[in-house]
Amino acid sequence: MKKTKRILSLLLVAVMVFALASCGSKGSDNSKTSSTGSEASGAAEKPTATGDYDLYIFNTKGENADAMEAAGKAFGEEKGVTVKVFSLGSGTNSDDTLRTEMNSKNKPAIFSTMNSQALVEWVEGGFAMDHAKATNEEFKKLVSEIPEGFNLTDGTANYGVPYNVEGYGYIADTQMLSDLFGADKLDSFLAAFKTATYEEFEAMVHTLEAYIKEGTAGTVTLSGTDFATAAEKTGKATSLEGVFSVAGSEKWTYGDHFVNIAVDAVFANSKAASQATLADLEAGKGAFKAYAKALDLKTANATTERGPELINATTNGYDPSVANFANSKAIFLKQGNWAYENIKKANAEIADNLTFLPVKMPFTQDDIKVEGLTVDHMLESIPVFVPNYYVINDKVSDEEKELAQEFLVWLNTSEAGQKFVVEDMAFIPYNADPATTSAGYSLGDSIISYIADGKTLTNAYAGAPAGWSTDTFGQYMMENYVNKTEWTDADYDTIADYIISSWAEMANLS
């Protein structure tokens, strides 16, 4: 009895471990139905045969789920075909879902990918269709007209059609600026800010910080013009707590878009960044130090004092940073136009008064390694980039591929398609003519004005090794610097060196 009991208990334990451990590794055992995707069998089981749909679109942007659904339906009615649109909830990571769909028999004909780093997987797996293999003449014309910097490429071929363009910089509330410097000065202030040097910007931040904390009125000089703060805080200025609203606990605050300004000074675009050599990175040290100085200025003058408090996820995450800005506790918020809806939700009153101002870093002409790029251009410009691309799946039937091409042509060139893109998805089309396009909301229009002026930068950091910007570099900054009150000059060096060494290590450079 005793023995059987013991054996039984051991068996039970083994079964339980088995069950628990297997649960732990879920997601790694996708069934193997995918390997039937060869040309012949793919055609044999073409979706029309199942009667479900003729074209399957996998949409990763949850925000425009309804608009995409409607666009698919409209296209389907026009062509007399059935279009299936699948969208995930907004903010959901779509990678795993997309991979599952790619393993199934009914693969999406149009899927999405964010940048050339994420593209590798789909090119290697044979999913992404090279545009050179396009069959539709109109589609060939469409993709040949995609501006150089907006292409999705692995270095040899092109694969993507842009969803839209987005931009980011310091978001400011013009009403706040009016309250600070006088409503009559607003337009000249905005113009002067854009062309101001970093030194002027830095002095302005210190003046404003003193004005906010001690109430001492001062004068800021931008592009040589003086702007005096109101003697007494009025209107929105009374609620100010700091110059910048910083999402301190979010690692992308330090990696991603902020460091991108410095990466832009070193690499012309993400393709150049993905082909970086160790020498290229080392040459960028000056620019990376400029990044560290600019981040120092920003985090030292935030609504929350720099230190453990600033990286507290409960009080300084993304949502609190948006709320602080929307409720006029800070003058600037470094974000992109995608934050518009959240700002509007937090405070609808300011939504129409928002504008982008460039993120400034103390570059010298020596720091800039991109040919033809000047310090002035860097100071005046905001990055405008493609956040997502439509990619056609090479593993679906030829009929569906053809239909997918037609759809993308229809969406990006026809009047009906553009209506969905501009009005319903609230997108700025990548092929928009800035003279005639209106985004219909403040931040979108602000981006268009930068495009019209030619004051745009690229999104070069997207070419950094996968996982570098947020999970490696951003995390390093958060754990080692943002939780410390004081930074020294030596820290700027260490940060710049870390950018170079961690990037080089992850890209296997030596």
Partner: protein
């Protein structure tokens, strides 16, 4: 009744066996095979089929060479060691109190069992708030109720975060383990302690020589559950610290491996999962065989 079960064993066990085979055994075997291949989630690097993409033990070698995996491994060991001890002391203490209570014992038990009903992610976020706001700002801050620097910003330091996780997990698990211990304590025949006290044993001797040996079956199951659950801690780890400050544990390391690079290395993640399985199986089996040897048969 006993005969009925013996006679109908197969038809009664079959549904469970089929399910177990379909959702555990098959994926497990497939997973082990994939761990030897260049599986990328949607395709095999190096060939159309898995047998063309075999990489031998490359994934296993890569896993053991990866600093992230080793760090996660060590952190998991540290956490498990501390958490198993703390959970057992707390839950045994609570159950000793529960069995001594004359009134409202079931209410007491219910209250302490409740945290176990909450999901790990929800718990993680609740405790994040507790650590970041209540601990760091209200109770233990410099200008708080009493200043205890060790309890401030517990999620922002490798060692402090370990104890933050232990506190969270003890809070969650102790009630459940208490129920098991309470059942074990109630099964000790009353005449044993009575006889011991007549023989002049004091409370400690009674606990050491009667309660502990009689409780051995409970120890076996509680140790097994806490040990394996500590090893496999995931949700709480993700929600509370998200792996910041070197607090990534093994389960999270496996989960995040596919995000650490592009294209996603599912083969490597799967190899880590197999190592993980072997580790838990070996540790648990050793523990169970040791503790069950101590069990006293009545």
């Amino acid at each position: 009744m006993d005969r009925y079960y013996r006679k109908k064993f197969l038809p009664l066990a079959l549904p469970a066996l089929i399910l177990f085979f379909l959702v555990i055994i098959i994926p497990f075997v497939v997973g082990v095979i994939y761990s030897f291949t260049g599986w990328r989630g949607t395709y095999f690097a190096g060939g159309e089929h898995f047998w063309e993409a075999f990489v031998g033990f490359d994934n296993y070698i890569k896993a053991f060479k990866s600093k992230k995996f080793i760090d996660a491994f060590i952190y998991t060991l540290k956490f498990t060691l501390v958490a198993v001890i703390v959970i057992n002391i707390v839950s045994l203490g609570m159950s000793l109190i529960a069995t001594k209570l004359r009134h409202a014992a079931s209410i007491y038990r219910t209250i302490y069992f409740l945290p176990n009903l909450l999901g790990g992610l929800a718990l993680g976020y609740i405790w994040q708030f507790v650590y970041e706001i209540i601990f760091s700002k209200i109770l233990f801050a410099k200008d708080g109720l009493i200043s205890i620097p060790a309890l401030v910003n517990m999620t922002q330091d490798n060692t402090k975060a370990l104890f933050a996780l232990v506190i969270l997990f003890t809070w969650q698990m102790a009630g459940y383990m208490m129920i098991i211990y309470t059942t074990g304590l109630n099964n000790i025949p009353k005449d044993l302690p009575e006889a011991a006290s007549i023989d002049g044993a004091n409370a400690w001797q009674e606990f050491r020589h009667i309660t502990v040996p009689m409780l051995m079956p409970s120890f076996t199951i509680v140790f097994f559950l806490t040990l394996s659950k500590c090893f496999m801690l995931l949700d709480q780890n993700v929600a509370l610290t998200d792996g910041n400050f070197g607090t990534r544990m093994l389960a999270m390391q496996i989960l995040r491996t596919t995000r650490d690079g592009s294209p996603p290395d599912y083969g490597l993640a799967q190899a880590q999962a197999v190592i993980f399985f072997v580790l838990i199986a070996v540790v648990s089996l050793i523990q169970v065989s040791i503790t069950s040897k101590q069990e006293v048969e009545m």
